[in-house]
Symmetry: C3
Subunit: 487 residues, 3 copies
């Protein structure tokens, strides 16, 4: 059983032993399939297609006798629509950051992954994910399901209460699911097969992410416990990062990344688009965090301010540390510092003071610089620093509520240890971080293994990796009119 | 009479015979002009300038005694403003997609066209286009006119009813006019003269697009007939595509595009910006489609969802088909699949179920792949696939309402043939598609011919085309610090 | 005392004489510092950090007993939030325009400056700038201060009146402060030291910009006088431009810019991102200008229309003039024409008719072309034309209200000389332009001098400038995988 048989790295053979746990399901999968080659994977899409087709004839949304639309209904739904558009715009940000920070020869592959995965994520989340995440309880606190698709009907009561119409709630949540999938893309960049990654993304957005998301955001056991994760430092960012980390470890490092155990610099090919991507992500976060208020009220701008200050703090923290440690302010680190600051405030954006938010971001910016080095010394190859940004800072952002958080929208009481709130909130935050980590690592390990076994490995061949995935996976170049520097 | 005298292609000489129909107007034009060279064209701008100048002294908008602004008025106008900004942002998307998919040596030209044409389109649409499109009836159902400029005054009644202020209605529609002009740019790219294209854009946005637009959106004959085109699959996208197709056919293919009757690949020079452009267009479409509700209500998010699902379907359809036919998922096709999905839902975004929208997009994504091949075998050179995306899928998106559309915002009754609505809606949709095609082809053929005759051809010289339009038309390069790959 | 000791240019030694005025403060600064090298500058950030840390434990915003949110409150705050996001997005626009219009070897430096300076500007403005700009009067009409940080508490009265919550007002204003700092970046590009620029930005956004901003926008002496600057042609754009001009003159021109007194072309390295940046700025201006209404009402779309028409006019004016003068439409000039049009309408966007706005933009577009040439003949090196766009057109946009402005939101009376309003408004506008120019030039001259003296010059070494600031200041390249054209 050689999942990564076409790889040059010795490192990966270790993990193959673990696959024996999955021998049963893998043999079953092998028997039911009648074909081996990657192309045939695409035909699987026809199965959900047939199911979707049935929905064409089934009109569930139509004009009903509804009351006049009130100010709260209009403002809440308009704001969520705008927030959703901003979150969807984050796809452009991720695509530019990830492509810009990788090498030219793999740019088409990264761009294609980002474009296509969002299309798949929306489809999968519409088909089943939303139902698993926001459906009615099957097993109280742990599992939810509402059937396939969802019902977009609007009731008079919902309008009277100023509630969100189901369509905008769905679209906002679907955009979040897409974000989780995009984070994975950065960790497995420059060596994962396109088709296999695509299948993994489907599993992640259809099942893995929605099930654990419901634990908190659908009133599941973590929510009952008292865990706080306002906009998803753990639920979205750390889940995406853990999923990618498992992939990165199973794939092993890129050829040439570690020479004699020492990490080599593999600089990104286009810092202009990477910077643009960071600024687009910053903008998109104004949908991600303030949108998670799920209404328009006086707290939405407050969340926008804490988000901004944390981004600023992150940039400052990362720039200072990278200047002190390497002598010069590294643009890659400024970018990662901003993103680290934003991830660090995602859980606590409604529970920290403004200064607390700035400080959370600053610490996140410091953490990300050291985390990048730490992953390098562990021999884990994370091409764009995605685990440091979304995983490590996702955990940090979750924990900081237990350090200096307040119940700002409630009675203003202290939650964090350092502001007099005791240990309990920190403990809840720790439980949540651990739960998301354990769930994601186990399910994603199984998913990557099964996919790799079924399709004959998840890593491209050595020769393809050296010549670049753009030619190998897509038969084209990103910049054919430009001469290459030959590295 | 040699309109394209400086071209190398034999193919174009055929079309010169047709120009004899226009001999009268062309001779007239030649007599009234006293000069030949392109530069003098610019001075024409001084005529409208003088007219505009008069408006400087004429204050038509000022504070009146208005009632308190109600929730509907605030939400409707705020939403339309945001939708307008998103549609204007589509200019950036078109500029990046078109420039990225063309060759490096023509990048400045494409960027300059996209920037400048939007400035002209807004000006022309303000001067006369809006009046021709949304003015009072001159000939019932066919022609409208309200005088030059428009009156931005706000009445107490309008506020009471929560209506749109004239300024935002104008700006939203002006952005649509700009979109039609930008689509043309892609079809005639890499060989059209800058000045001649600019003049054509003025004619298109001032007259051709507004006149036919009024047939549906100002309550003209198509609207009376029962034709449905919610956001402009036919009215905007197919009109732009037909206008460009006429230009592309009159221009003939780029040098080297067809060798021995076989289409040659001319890969785009920058897939990073092309991908960014696609994602910006996706975002911009949330203004284009949901904004066309022309109010903020519970249907706006519904339209955003159908738009999203169609884009996802388009990406999936195009990716599957291009992988099956060429063996590998082509990034250009993923991009065009997304855009095809978006165009395919533009007419029916408020008349299809969610599954119906996804399927409409998927079929659009499939169509676009085959359409690109078909145009190649017809010997028509469409450098960025604009006719396939905006023309063919514009027609498809219009027709699909007649196949599985519903009257969702009305009584929920079936309109489409496949859902039990009979043939009549399909027939109305067909009439509309044909009307926009015939009108645009004829008027644009005349416009391109007259412009070509007046200025001595619409195509750059052979030597300029080979060395690139950036040097020839603009005297500069897009990337002077980078070494060229020499192709 | 050699502020620019490591520079090759003779030109700059002239300005060193002026520095003798500052000998006292410079000597003092030298004595109190115990170190010389740039890196230590970063540690200064620890001082405000310690102060910020105190705010972590101080919860000033929490849920109070507030009335139901009314339609005006919801619409006003939602609109301002969106406007703020658009203004923050302008950072991406500035980064792309400035980087694209500079040479490849300095791209990382420009991108890093734009990213980092916004983080610093937000932090400095939060710490002290907002208080200096919108605090209570210290010296009536001239100086304001409210203590450090600001109080985000929301009162029932504020909600009842539909007012803006303090958080969104702060964030909107902070984004404006960031814009002023970003304009400086363009003027000093390709030769300023990173750390020294960063310190200057802190001073500008913490003190210089807020103090003069309060004169008009906090009801200071200029506001009492009758000066009009709706969104900041003078207050933001000309202040940023003057601050940068002083920097550019103290730095002297780039090596090779002037040969034998004649300006040499130094073309930008990436016109694709420069064009994208211009379109992002255009979009961002819909936050800048209409957002400055500070409420959602029927005038917001009106301001969006005047902004659009001025941008269109600017593009047309600059294109015509650059075509007439140089024979070909220069893309750089189309971009600068659009920006010139936008700056030209920023002061008068609520005081000009639509035709008046278009004309103001057109004249701005004409001015910018001649201004770029004029600066070249004066031997001032403004790499991206920032002084022409933001300074000269900022002044023009302020003055035009005195030429054909109206009191549109008031009684509709004429203000401008050409529309029958007499000379008085033109005089107020002139006073305002002069006040912002004099204040900014003096304070920034002192600031640049002190910073230069303290850190041993503000200009990079000759060898660093020739090899590029990317390697020298940041130790990395923007496009390492691409071969350079060798110029």
């Amino acid at each position: 059983m050689t999942i990564a048989s076409n790889s040059a790295s010795k490192r990966r053979t270790v993990s193959l032993q673990e696959a024996s746990l999955l021998e049963g399901p893998i043999l079953l999968l092998r028997r039911i399939r009648g074909f081996h080659h990657r192309r045939s994977l695409m035909w699987f899409a026809c199965v959900p297609l047939a199911l979707f087709g049935l929905g064409v004839f089934n009109l569930s949304a139509h004009a009903a006798d509804l009351p006049e639309l009130n100010a709260a209904f209009l403002a809440n739904n308009l704001w969520l629509l705008i927030a959703t558009i901003l979150v969807i715009f984050m796809n452009a940000g991720f695509a530019m950051v990830e492509a810009g920070m990788c090498r030219q020869k793999n740019a088409v592959n990264i761009l294609a992954k980002n474009l296509f995965v969002f299309a798949l994520a929306v489809t999968a989340y519409w088909f089943v994910g939303y139902s698993l995440m926001y459906g009615n309880a099957v097993t109280d606190g742990w599992l939810y399901f509402n059937g396939l698709f969802f019902d977009p009907a609007v009731s008079p009561e919902l309008i009277g209460e100023g509630g969100l119409v189901p369509t905008i709630d769905f679209l906002f949540q679907a955009a979040f699911a897409g974000t989780a999938a995009t984070i994975v893309s950065g960790l497995v960049a420059e060596r994962v097969k396109f088709g296999e990654f695509v299948v993994f993304s489907l599993v992640l957005t259809a099942v893995i992410y929605p099930v654990s998301g419901s634990w908190q955001w659908n009133g599941g056991w973590l929510s009952d416990l008292g865990f706080i994760d306002f906009a998803g430092s753990s639920i979205v960012h750390s889940v995406g990062a853990w999923a990618g980390l498992v992939g990165a470890m199973l794939l092993g490092p890129r050829i040439g990344k570690f020479v004699g155990g020492k990490a080599q610099a593999m600089p990104g090919h286009n810092m202009a688009i990477a910077t643009l991507g960071a600024l687009i992500l910053w903008i998109g976060w104004y949908g991600f965090n303030p949108g998670s208020q799920l209404a328009m009220d006086q707290w939405v701008p407050y969340v926008a301010v804490t988000t901004t200050l944390a981004a600023a703090g992150g940039a400052i923290g990362a720039t200072i540390v990278s200047t002190v440690t390497s002598g010069k302010p590294d643009l890659t680190m400024i970018i990662n510092g901003i993103l680290a600051g934003l991830v660090s405030i995602t859980a606590g954006c409604a529970n920290l003071t403004m200064a607390g938010a700035w400080l959370a971001g600053l610490v996140g910016g410091v953490i990300v610089v050291f985390s990048v080095s730490a992953l390098d010394s562990l021999g884990i190859d994370d091409p764009v620093g995605a685990f440091s940004v979304h995983g490590v800072c996702g955990i940090w952002g979750t924990l900081v509520i237990g350090l200096w958080g307040f119940d700002i929208q409630g009675d203003g009481s202290a939650l964090g240890l350092f502001v007099g709130g005791g240990f309990s909130q920190l403990w809840y935050q720790f439980i949540g971080c651990a739960a998301y980590g354990i769930w994601t690592v186990i399910t994603c390990w199984v998913a990557w293994k099964l996919i790799g076994s079924f399709f004959g490995g998840i890593r491209v061949s050595e020769s393809e990796e050296i010549s670049g995935l753009d030619i190998g996976e897509h038969g084209m170049e990103a910049y054919p009119d430009f001469a290459s520097a030959g590295n």
